[in-house]
């Protein structure tokens, strides 16, 4: 059970959250997106070994979405950041 640092509520158990896949996947302008750009947005997600910037929503808490760095090997959490704010540096 992960202990997830909600930037609004503080650390909480994983069961209060839903995962929202990778962060910083930008919604392309649908009308002008090529098939390739669009399918990349819909289907293609990174699956890195190590640090991964991802989205979570605190569904059973403040209901707010946020981004956070998580290490997919150690499950360690790095810095969190709110949507539309600058992404903090990838942790070492």
């Amino acid at each position: 059970m992960l202990n997830i640092p909600c930037p609004y509520c503080g650390p909480r158990d994983e069961t209060e959250f839903h995962y929202g896949a990778g962060a910083n996947i930008f919604y392309p302008e649908p009308a002008s997106a090529t098939d390739e750009e669009w399918s990349k947005f819909v289907f293609i997600r990174e699956n890195p070994k190590g640090w991964h910037a991802e989205r979570w929503v605190h569904s059973a808490g403040c209901r707010r979405w946020f981004n956070v760095w998580r290490n997919t090997i150690t499950h360690e959490f790095g810095p969190t950041y709110k949507p539309f704010t600058d992404q903090p540096k990838r942790p070492a």
């Binding site: 059970m1 649908p30 098939d35």
Partner: protein, 889 residues
């Protein structure tokens, strides 16, 4: 010590309070404990604790427990247990014991209260940290205590500090990310053999600790030689401990050892009055230190020592109990058979690495220690004691057993519970397997109750011998929680019966229950399935209910539909993005049906949304989809369009909805709300009006999910039951008929209305459902771009069609796959072309009908399909009132 009487295999025994069942039985002279599962070989107690592979029992007293090692059962007055040959059985009575759960945060969790764990606990406790120390045994002190060492009093004193929580009989069964651990604390079984209803029998602990110390110790390992499984053969530490506890069955002993532990235990046996006939030491030469600390003291006691020799085989009496051991040394040509009661094996130590491997820390092989040890590199986890390789003065040889011929290998047991032998390992290797993961699955080694606690390292060592690799080159030991078998009841805690899951009911629910309606579970909701009159079954009730809806007036509780209140100046623009059709142009007071898609263009949810005011909307969702839709809306608002001023609030529970349905619903509404203009012109389809209904303030919407003239009356949930009662009372002259979810389904299917989740499974576009009409060509919306992808736009996708079986009584099972007619009655495999999504018997049509998704379905209308030996014709997916005339009454 007070005496305790207990029953085992139908015989009464007397033991001493504090004895384990294993100790008490051995004290009573029980050596032959059970017979093995597959080979029927006599077996006895081999070990001290949860690593015991042979002595499994069924506890029949108290709450009962189907399969536990006798070594872990503490005897109590009146305990009833019986031996098992590998297969346990659950009690057939309901367990009325209490189980509960505790959650705790701590600075430090220490697992294991042996010397190493206690030392760590004191270290952190002295710094003022909050410490939880958990140990699975009845007594604090671990191995040291068992060996009669004095535990330093200052270590024990620290357990009493205010910042320390100390729990014995508490097994950590799982370790997880970020310092999370789950443990089970056995609280009553050692006190009484009776069922405990006022004190929790087992408490499950959920601990989150900033730092975890694993001090889980080690289990002694057996050796693999021929006939190594007889009663009378034990691990040496086990044997010495039992003898010290007063087991007097053994007069003579032979110890076979790979390390200095064998000497320690031989001396312990000797001091307890057992004549140690020989110590067979695999090692020819010892270090100076070992000679001095181990060999010399044994020689001084006059114990014969056979250097460089090994146990090869054993003999038994008629019952199969150990009578002698065959000792060899191929180099010196020694081959001697020594008669003995007890053969004590010291095959080295296997650290308990389980909890470390659960969190992904890999054990490493240490040749010096002949063991897999764990040195944590993770900052928040430390390992200490034997687990970390603290093997002071043991100096083991890396040795797992002697060379054996095929006949001997057949009775040289590696995993006693699975009756798996050295010969099985040879066959696995012969079949090309080397990796422990493959061998495990081929031989079933490590898959029994003890989960490889005794056999894991042995297996890796023996395979290594066979293929010429070191044990760690065979793979790595992978264990998974739970560390021991745990009753489901302990994990469930108090979430049993009615408390298993939250139950959601509408404000009208008590009426449905009183009416005797069977309930259908829709998510967590209880919805009435149908309302049987005396003597009616489902079929008869549904025919009657549908007849009322089509010809008279019927009433349904629609309160479970998800409802989301949406406000803000940009709500219309937002809904245009969420729904495939246009909402921003909707007039205030009007409702519109809408379809939502995911970004992949697949139908995701549907429902009617009403514009209550210029900037105020009420969305309805499917009953099961409400939470999912709410999350979806928030996701887009927060992460894509934060500039939109839109606020969403769930109001599902706040509003009760009563749908009145059928040609006479207008008459009923007029009776319920006398001042209201209910005329066709005055109250248009999809229009909403505010009025008092039976004296209750209501919003009435003229919408229909059956195709009939219908109204949905929405009131505050507080008035739901009152409204329903009034509808039933005033509607009685019109024979108003309540109906449930089954009739709801039949009515909507007759009209060709889809249910998201029944006609769809997340792979249907609106066009697949024949709902292209609801997809706006003018504006963008979520998922639209995906419609022009090549796979979504191809013309031959699975499309929604109707099916009319040729046998008009035949209701095709939902989910049934079917093929082209030419395959009627053919033997599989048959290429299928589609599957049934909804299927009912229709009173209106006086025949069965179905909806189905069919490959290139719309082009196949008119063709026949075969469902086994039955046939049906493909039709359009609409069966009643294609012209939409009935909705106006």
């Amino acid at each position: 010590m007070s005496n305790v009487t207990f029953k085992f295999d139908g015989v009464d025994y007397v033991g001493q309070a504090g004895d384990s069942l294993a100790t008490a039985l051995l004290r009573n002279g029980v050596l032959h404990f059970t017979d093995s599962t597959y080979r029927d070989r006599p077996r006895g107690i081999m070990s001290l604790w949860v690593d015991e592979p042979n002595a499994l029992v069924n506890v029949d007293s108290g709450a009962g427990e189907p399969m536990v090692p006798a070594t872990t059962v503490e005897i109590t007055e009146g305990l009833v247990a019986r031996s098992l040959a590998g297969i346990g059985d659950l009690p057939d009575t309901r367990d009325i014991s209490r189980y509960d759960r505790a959650y705790r945060h701590a600075d430090v969790l220490v697992v294991g209260a042996g010397l190493a764990g206690l030392t760590e606990a004191k270290k952190y406790a002295d710094k003022g940290k909050t410490v939880i120390i958990m140990d699975d045994q009845p007594e604090v002190g671990g191995h040291a205590k068992q060996c009669g060492e004095v535990i330093p009093p200052e270590l024990l004193a620290s357990l009493a500090l205010e910042n320390v929580t100390h729990l014995q009989r508490t097994t950590v069964i799982g370790t997880y990310d970020q310092g999370y651990a789950v443990a089970v604390e056995r609280r009553t079984d050692h006190v009484s053999s009776k069922v405990s209803t006022d004190v929790a029998r087992i408490r499950t602990w959920h601990v989150r600790a900033k730092h975890t110390v694993l001090a889980t110790g080690a289990f002694q390992r057996p050796l693999v030689f021929a006939n190594n499984d007889r009663p009378g053969i034990m691990l040496s530490h086990t044997a010495a401990t039992y003898v010290e506890r007063g087991v007097s069955k053994f007069k003579t002993a032979v110890v076979v050892t790979v390390d200095n532990q064998g000497y320690t235990d031989a001396i312990r046996l000797h001091k307890s009055g057992v004549r140690v006939l020989a110590i067979i030491d695999i090692r020819k030469k010892l270090s100076k230190a070992s000679s001095k600390s181990a060999r010399k003291p044994a020689e001084k006691l006059g114990i014969r020592i056979l250097k460089g020799a090994t146990a090869l085989d054993t003999n038994g009496n008629l019952e199969g109990i150990l009578s002698s051991v065959v000792v060899t040394d191929p180099k010196s040509g020694l081959n001697e058979t020594i008669s003995t009661d007890l053969l004590a094996i010291s095959g080295g130590w296997t650290p308990t690495v389980h909890l470390a491997t659960y969190i992904g820390i890999k054990p490493t092989w240490s040749n010096k220690r002949a063991a897999f040890i764990v040195r944590s590199k993770v900052k928040s986890i430390s390992t200490v004691g034997m687990l970390a390789g603290d093997f002071v003065g043991l100096e083991p040889a890396v040795y797992f057993g002697p060379e054996l011929d095929e006949t001997q290998a057949l009775v040289a047991f590696v995993d006693h519970q699975r009756d798996a032998t050295l010969r099985d390992l040879r066959r696995a290797v012969g079949a090309g397997m080397v990796s422990i993961e493959h061998v495990k699955r081929y031989t079933a080694i490590g898959t029994a109750h003890d989960q490889g606690k005794t056999s894991g390292t042995l297996t890796m060592g023996l395979i290594g011998n066979l293929v010429g690799l070191a044990p760690d080159e065979i793979g790595s030991l992978t264990f998974r929680p739970p560390y021991i078998a745990v009753p489901f009841a302990a994990l469930a805690g108090r979430e049993r019966g009615l408390h298993t899951e939250p139950i959601r009911t509408t404000s009208i629910h008590p009426w449905h229950v009183a009416a005797g309606a069977p309930m259908e579970d829709v998510g967590q909701w209880k919805r009435p399935w149908f309302f049987p009159k005396p003597g009616e079954d489902l079929h008869a009730a549904v025919l009657r209910e549908c007849r009322a809806a089509r010809n008279g007036v019927a009433v349904m509780d629609a309160s479970t539909l998800g409802k989301i209140d949406i406000q803000g100046k940009d709500a219309g623009e937002f809904l245009d993005q969420i729904y495939t059709n246009m909402f921003s142009t909707l007039k205030v007071g009007m409702s519109r049906y809408g379809l939502m898609c995911g970004v992949d263009g697949m139908v995701f949810d549907d429902g009617v949304t009403t514009r209550l005011g210029e900037n105020h909307w009420l969305m309805t969702t499917t009953t099961g989809g409400a939470a999912k839709v709410m999350d979806w809306l928030e996701e887009w608002l927060q992460t894509e369009w934060p500039h939109l001023e839109v606020f969403c609030t769930s109001v599902t529970e706040q509003i009760a909805t009563v749908a009145i349905v059928g040609p006479k619903s207008r008459d009923l509404l007029a009776m319920l709300s006398p001042g209201l203009d209910v005329s066709k012109e005055g109250f248009a389809f999809m229009e909403n009006k505010y009025a008092d209904v039976a004296g209750i303030p209501a919003r009435i919407a003229r919408i229909s999910f059956s195709g009939e003239l219908a109204y949905e009356i929405n009131v505050s949930a507080w008035y739901g039951l009152e409204l329903w009662n009034k509808v039933m009372e005033l509607g009685a002259p019109l024979d108003v008929t309540p109906y449930g979810t089954e009739s709801l389904h039949v009515l909507r299917a007759e009209k060709g209305f889809v249910i998201v989740g029944q006609e769809t499974d997340g792979t249907q576009t609106p066009d697949d459902l024949g709902m292209d009409w609801i997809v706006s060509k003018k504006k963008d919306f979520i998922g639209k771009r995906s419609f022009s992808r090549s796979d979504t736009s191809r013309p031959d996708r699975h499309q929604l069609v109707g099916l009319l079986p040729d046998t008009s009584e035949y209701v095709i099972p939902e989910g049934a796959y079917f093929s082209e007619e030419q395959h009627k009655g053919a033997k599989p495999p048959i290429p299928h072309i589609g599957y049934v999504t909804s299927s009912y018997f229709s009173g209106e049509l006086n025949r069965s009908f179905a909806m189905a998704l069919v490959h290139n379905g719309r082009a196949r209308i008119g063709e026949r399909v075969a469902i086994g030996t039955e046939t049906a014709v493909i039709t359009e997916p609409i069966f009643v009132d294609k012209e939409n005339v009935r909705r106006d009454g």
